[in-house]
Subunit: 262 residues, 2 copies
């Protein structure tokens, strides 16, 4: 499982303030803490309150790169903000994200190619949120076709079925799990699959329990990557144990510690 830490996001008070005050230490602390908890990459999002995302994004990227070489996942709905981040990124990045809209695909796929970046494609378009797994598959196929047309390597594509809160779209959650499976067999070679985990529990009262239960099920359906809070120890325990059960890490009595020391 490729784990992307979600905590460097201006919507969180500490990061929002750190961006405003150009407080490098707080951002770097947050980066190192997530890596210590098991993050393989770090999501970077200026947040909705950022007034100058075109300069905040490269500042965040440079600040984080002073303390780690882990890949960064540049998270913005504005492709110009993403490009400013790409310009200063030293390592292979992940663009988060394109929708299945042709205009967006024609902008972001060439950008990903130009900067040798991976790309997250979300099964959504301007018509709205898909209502079932057939619609998700159709949107995924649109993204894959665009990648093929642009000559973008499908192995570098992460498809996101778009996770909805269980308290809002309970009847759709099984379809979302099945989409994770279907996305893997939509083309050869396979794209990877990814979810923004925390969406599942938005507005609920037992967020961590719902997050880790859904993640365990998603792993059973073959999920490759998730954007999540690696500081949630019970979530990480569930993830490590899920992968153990699927024989992805070798069993030893101290398998939880062994994974964390890897």
């Amino acid at each position: 499982m490729f784990i992307i830490g979600e905590l460097i996001n201006g919507m969180y008070a500490n990061i929002g303030a750190a961006i405003k005050e150009h407080n490098k230490k707080e951002v770097q602390r947050c980066a190192l803490e997530q890596i210590a908890c098991g993050a393989d990459a770090l999501d970077v999002n200026c947040g909705p309150a950022s007034k100058q995302p075109l300069t905040d994004m490269p500042w965040l990227v440079k600040t984080i790169q002073e303390v780690t070489d882990k890949p960064l996942c540049l998270d913005s709905s504005n492709n110009k903000v993403i490009e400013e981040g790409l310009k200063v990124s030293k390592n292979k990045t992940i663009i988060n994200s394109t929708t299945a809209d042709q205009e967006k695909l024609d902008l972001l796929i060439p950008l990903a190619k130009q900067y040798n970046s991976k790309l997250i494609g979300i099964a959504i378009n301007t018509k709205g949120i898909p209502q079932n797994k057939d619609q998700r598959l159709e949107l995924a196929a649109t993204i894959i076709t665009a990648c093929q047309q642009h000559g973008f390597a499908i192995e570098d594509l992460y498809l996101d079925p778009i996770v909805l809160p269980v308290n809002v779209a309970q009847a759709q959650i099984k379809d979302i799990l099945e989409s994770i499976h279907e996305f893997q067999i939509i083309s050869e070679p396979s794209p990877k699959t990814i979810i923004g985990l925390s969406n599942i529990s938005q507005g609920t009262h037992v967020r961590s329990l719902i997050n880790r239960t859904f993640l365990t099920m998603a792993v059973a359906y073959g999920l490759n990557s998730a954007i999540l809070d690696p500081k949630d120890k019970e979530l990480m325990d569930a993830l490590i144990t899920s992968e153990l059960i699927l024989n992805k890490n070798i069993y030893c009595n101290s398998f939880l510690d062994a994974y964390r020391r890897k």
Copy 2:
């Protein structure tokens, strides 16, 4: 999910002693406690140390029936012990279990029919433990064929893929999960599926975590029933949340409490 409590088993010190001393109160306390925690039925096993299982089993059944009408799951490898339990059972029982051996099937299926009992069939025979999902499916097919030949309703059959400890048979666990799915499509109408959950974590150091992670995955694969420890609150939380995610219980903010009050 049909939850069968596993705690009335002579291998546990309290129940072993209670059987020896004919201490009704301890057995009844254990029965009521499991039901309060969410058990829909109770497994009843005299345990390996029982010297007179032919009288211990009916004593246990009668003792439990004094305090509850919940179905009992009569658990013995000796069909005579099961029959002594059946003779005194007031409600529909579950026979736990037959193997896929013809001799055993020809004894236990007619017994289940005679007493209007459900039947657990385990995908194992005298040749040994199956080594992959194809062998599991073949053993399941043997059990189904025998049920059809004896005119036993497939809806009353629970197929068990036989769960092995993750520290012993790690490479087989994914096959076991996939068998849970395959068993449901082996015939129309479908048999039900069941697991003895605690086997997955035998000999490991974090039993509850492994149990609840595996159960969550098994629910994702369509599991209908499990024999487990309903007093493990984190396990029950994971189970309730798994079913919520699959839209089997309606979401409300207090869904955990709501399930437990049902």
